[in-house]
């Protein structure tokens, strides 16, 4: 049985506004392509270099097929296919390339994975992380005095990817709710932290206030772990970049690129 460790976290449900305790996956190491290739080589007996070469070729071919309008099925995993975000038009004939807002890749996991997970994955709840009896060591962060990041993750409350057919029409709903918390070492005074989201249709690549979320000082249960938090953040599917900015006092987020030379940026790993 595979075990995934979970920790309790207090959150506000963005739909109902109710605050309750939920389970959230603990932070695990992200497996890189190199580690994946090594594991594959170990289990197949094929030399690492050959596996690496084949993996690169598979990814390249997969991209090639998808960007030319094909769907690709990886047996045992699922199907990748192109997906479009579109602006509406009043008539069928009025739909042109101009309607396309973004091109995305959709991954549909194989149907038996859900059942497989029910049977082979167990969940262990680590309660000590809530009581604080054994706090995890906080790694030093070289940036800006930010010493700890909360996870920016697929919110467990809730990721929906629903498709249904109504009278022959297809409806898609996709919604993500995310949380970000940061802890600072207190060296930043008088400024503010912002989450800047860059949608793919933005050109030139500049951030603007419309897509910037100012982190609020943490209160309540969050205060224990974080200094600033942003809750219920919606990150669009087509976002090409998300950055955490520190804006010194007096600096406002504007759409002038020069403005961001004043701001310090931290790349955020989106899980």
């Amino acid at each position: 049985m595979n075990i995934v460790k979970m920790a309790p976290i207090k959150r506000k449900n963005p739909k109902t506004g109710k605050v309750a305790w939920y389970l959230q996956k603990r932070k695990y190491d992200t497996i890189s392509s190199k580690e994946l290739v090594e594991a594959m080589a170990r289990n197949t007996g094929i030399p690492v270099a050959k596996v690496a070469m084949a993996t690169d070729a598979i990814v390249k071919q997969l991209k090639n097929f998808l960007l030319n309008g094909h769907s690709v099925n990886i047996v045992g995993l699922g199907t990748f296919s192109p997906r479009i975000k579109s602006r509406p038009s009043d008539s069928k004939d009025a739909v042109t390339a101009e309607n396309v807002k973004a091109l995305l890749l959709k991954f549909r996991p194989q149907t038996d994975i859900r059942e497989d997970m029910k049977n082979t994955v167990g969940y262990e709840v680590i309660h000590s992380e809530v009581t604080g009896t054994s706090p995890a060591p906080v790694p030093e962060d070289p940036y800006l005095g930010v010493t700890k990041f909360g996870q920016l993750h697929d919110g467990s409350l809730e990721v929906e990817d629903v498709e249904r057919t109504q009278d022959g029409t297809q409806v898609e709903i996709y919604r993500e709710s995310t949380f970000l918390g940061i802890k600072t070492d207190g060296t930043q005074k008088g400024g503010k932290f912002c989450l800047a989201i860059l949608p793919s249709d933005t050109y030139p690549y500049t951030y603007n206030p419309k897509n910037t979320i100012v982190l609020k000082p943490a209160t309540g249960a969050y205060k224990k772990d974080f200094d600033y938090v942003a809750n219920g953040v919606i990150i669009p599917d087509d976002a090409v970049d998300v950055k955490l900015l520190y804006l010194p006092a007096g600096v406002q987020v504007t759409d002038k690129p020069d403005n961001f030379k004043l701001a310090s940026m931290i790349n955020i790993l989106m899980q």
């Binding site: 979970m6 594959m40 070729a57 997969l62 309008g69 094909h70 045992g76 390339a97």
Partner: protein
């Protein structure tokens, strides 16, 4: 330049209830294990049996890592992770593994492929209207009729 055919589909906006016409991609074909194996080995000169073994191992290892809580970042493609939901509880101590609602494996596009999907690098054309695909659609039409034709 990558080319993707689009067609028009009528949909109801779930937020405001209004019905309108939207663009949706036209998928020419579903490439299966054999199609991938053939295309990859042809373009990379790697033995088809090796490609086949690596594709199977890729699916198996991704599942293994995800089932143990890890995220897997596959260079050039994106990140795979576990998707789950959680039922709420009034106190933290009430929470047990039973509160986890396992869902499935999630995928998030990586920055490299997001850039490749940039609208400046992909051409879209109406696939379902002959006059509109007459010029730019010829290539895609041949994909449709001849199966697939991988790019070099």
């Amino acid at each position: 330049m990558a080319k993707i055919g689009i067609s028009a589909v009528q949909r109801k906006n779930p937020r405001n209830g209004k019905t309108a016409w939207y663009a949706q991609p036209k998928t020419y074909s579903l490439i299966g294990a054999d199609g991938m194996k053939e295309a990859v080995s042809r373009n990379s000169q790697i033995d088809p049996s090796v490609v086949s073994s690596v594709m199977n191992a890729l699916a198996t290892e991704i599942k293994n890592f995800v089932y143990n809580g890890h995220n897997i970042k596959l260079d050039g493609l994106g990140t795979f992770s576990i998707r789950y939901g959680s039922l709420p509880a009034n106190t933290a101590s009430n929470l047990t593994g039973e509160y986890v609602k396992p869902k499935t494996i999630g995928f998030r596009m990586g920055s490299e492929i997001r850039k490749a999907c940039s609208l400046k690098l992909v051409e879209f054309f109406r696939f379902d209207v002959p006059e509109l695909y007459q010029q730019s659609g010829e290539l895609a039409w041949s994909y449709y009729t001849d199966g697939y034709e991988p790019q070099p």
